[in-house]
Amino acid sequence: MPDTLLFAMEATLNGLTAGVMYALVALGFVLIFKASGIFNFAQGVMALFAALTLVGLQSGQIPFSHLINAAFGTRVHHFGWNMPTFLAIPATVLVMIGLAVLVERFILKHLVNQEPIILFMATIGLAYFLEGVGDIMWGAEVKALDVGLPKGMSDTVDTLTYNWFGYGFYIDRLELWAAGIAAILVASLTVFSQYTKQGRALRAVADDHQAALSVGISLRFIWVLTWSIAGIVALVAGIMWGSKSGVQFSLSLIALKALPVLILGGFTSIPGAIVGGLIIGVGEKLFDFFMSPIIGGATENWFAYMLALVFLLFRPQGLFGERIIERV
């Protein structure tokens, strides 16, 4: 088999695993958009915040230690203990749920019935706020996140592909794990929304806020629920990205990458988020592979957005989205 084809196949596989990572972030967007019609720009920062909190709890950092030190002249930084991962993750989940309650109480409640564009800008404000809070709470330096997931080259894939093609593909084991976890996440979300009472209520709210209110569904509870779930999805995404490349500010920019994923998949479709993520992941890896010798590298920065732009012109509702009908 020619080398180029092999390399392209490897790039495709890497693209698929990268796509899973994008899909994880996009999933959180879709959940909130379906339940409250809000396009949550803060999803990426939520992932960053969750990962920062997890690292901070694991290493026993004192929250706001910089601020306390600056304000009172003290020199506190660590509690002096390390929290094991199996405790730190539930604790972070609790923090994310608390965040969801606060967001509902202080922001969403006051913005009921506003235009979607106002809500969108409010989430941009929330993103900035959370970013600042995260930095002040846990410090802004790059942190390594280790929750015990395997890392490095997968030997199984390497030997397997070597036996088949005579060339071993490089796949990170972490990304294989991410794919597995994403599959479990999607399956459990589907089960939750299809077969539980709260899930049904969630879908009812997504369908029609007022009708859902009139049959006695508490809108505020549903919002807290969705934002909590989105927070947990953000935590999963934060763990994956954080273990891959360290917990740092660039994590929140991944949220921007999730936007074209959503456009491809449609804003309201969970499978769409997955498929969209895979298309973007494979597309940008292959495009970079074939085009970077011609037009220069780092096309990954913009390829996804351009693809989305072209796609929008032909199918504005996305691959799996509901048809957009406008009335006067």
Partner: protein
């Protein structure tokens, strides 16, 4: 008793439809203009010009432009940073290719180039709207910045990848380059701002502005009553990008002097200008001024207070600043979705009725 329409009789339609119908406002406006043109140049020094006044003037032009697009025409754009970069690189290429050309014309032509690019990226707005359009403009943001950092022609093959403004003069005073004085920097930015604001005000209250507002309020209904959405949206993109391009050119040539696309015109610039428009007030010329003033002066004051006043480390102050800006956006959206401009309107209404409550 001063703040009244009563007794101020208008005898022509022109007088009736003027921008400041109340005499007190009118006088205040001319006093402010006189102060800006005659007194400020005498008292301005390097520190004030560099930290507050010049960035305020330049960002106000950008906010005016973005306000036309978002506030008047209702098209959300996150590509402001890239359009400013188009203005900056356009002016750089013109300055180096035609050294004889006056800098004022260079900046205006750079504005027109940006308008062209803006129209190009505004084309998708005919089919898509809202968040979808925001993503389309994100494509502009990332693609253009990539183009400017990767294509050596744009930065004249300079080894650092930076563009730096050569010295250019207006009436014998250096306005760009290292030898430009605070006064000349201030004056050129002020002139551009006053003309831009005058243009924006008169465009938005004319037939074009009404078309934009009709599209913003409900595009399908506007189309039915005879507004051409193609023309309305594309002119909004063109005019908005023109102003943004001018502000980008001024930011690079006059204020920064040297710039690198990813550093100076990244996505955070897009958000900064967007925040100015939101905090100042969507769909208001005064709002652009208020928002830019707030977001330029606020961080400087905060930094003075925390770093110089309390002796806190700068990185902590920077994080607090991000947090406070985010919180302010939320507070404004919840309490006063129409921004500082709406507060100002309320104050004016109260003044007119004073001393009676209503």
């Amino acid at each position: 008793m001063l703040y009244r329409e009563a007794g101020d009789f208008k005898t022509s339609y022109v007088a009736d439809s003027q921008t400041f119908p109340i005499k007190f406002d009118r006088v205040g406006y001319y006093v402010l203009l006189g102060f800006a043109f005659l007194v400020m140049p005498l008292i301005i020094n390097d520190y004030w010009a560099n930290s507050i006044v010049v960035p305020f003037l330049i960002y106000t032009i950008a906010a005016l432009g973005l306000n036309i697009l978002i506030g008047y025409c209702g098209q959300l754009s996150l590509g402001t940073g890239a359009f400013m970069a188009v203005g900056a690189y356009g002016s750089y290429k013109l300055m180096t290719a035609f050294p004889e050309l006056n800098i004022v014309f260079v900046i205006i032509i750079a504005g027109f180039i940006t308008a062209g690019v803006g129209v190009l990226f505004g084309l998708p707005s005919l089919r898509i709207k809202g968040f979808y359009l925001a993503v389309a403009t994100l494509a502009a943001q990332f693609f253009l910045i990539w183009l400017f950092t990767r294509t050596a022609w744009f930065y004249n093959y300079s080894p650092t990848g930076m563009i730096s403004a050569p010295q250019r003069e207006v009436f014998g005073f250096a306005v760009t380059g290292p030898r430009a004085s605070a006064v000349s920097m201030y004056m050129i930015c002020l002139c551009f701002l006053v003309i831009s604001a005058w243009l924006a005000r008169n465009l938005t209250r004319g037939s074009l502005g009404r078309q934009w507002m009709a599209i913003r309020d409900m595009d399908i209904a506007a189309e039915i009553i005879g507004v051409n959405p193609l023309m309305a949206k594309l002119t909004a993109f063109a005019v908005s990008s023109f102003f943004i391009g001018i502000s980008g050119a001024l930011l690079f040539a006059v204020y920064l002097g040297a710039a690198e696309a990813g550093e100076a015109f990244g996505i955070d610039k897009s958000f900064l200008v967007l925040f100015m428009v939101i905090i100042g007030g969507l769909g208001s010329i005064f709002g652009a001024f208020a928002g830019a003033f707030f977001l330029i002066v606020g961080p400087v004051l905060l930094k003075l207070l925390l770093v110089n006043g309390l002796g806190w480390p700068t990185d902590l102050a920077a994080h607090l600043e991000i947090m406070i800006i985010g919180a302010l956006i939320l507070v404004f959206l919840i309490l006063e979705p129409h921004g500082i401009a709406a507060l100002w309107r309320t104050i004016k209404e109260k003044l007119r009725l004073w001393p009676f409550p209503y």
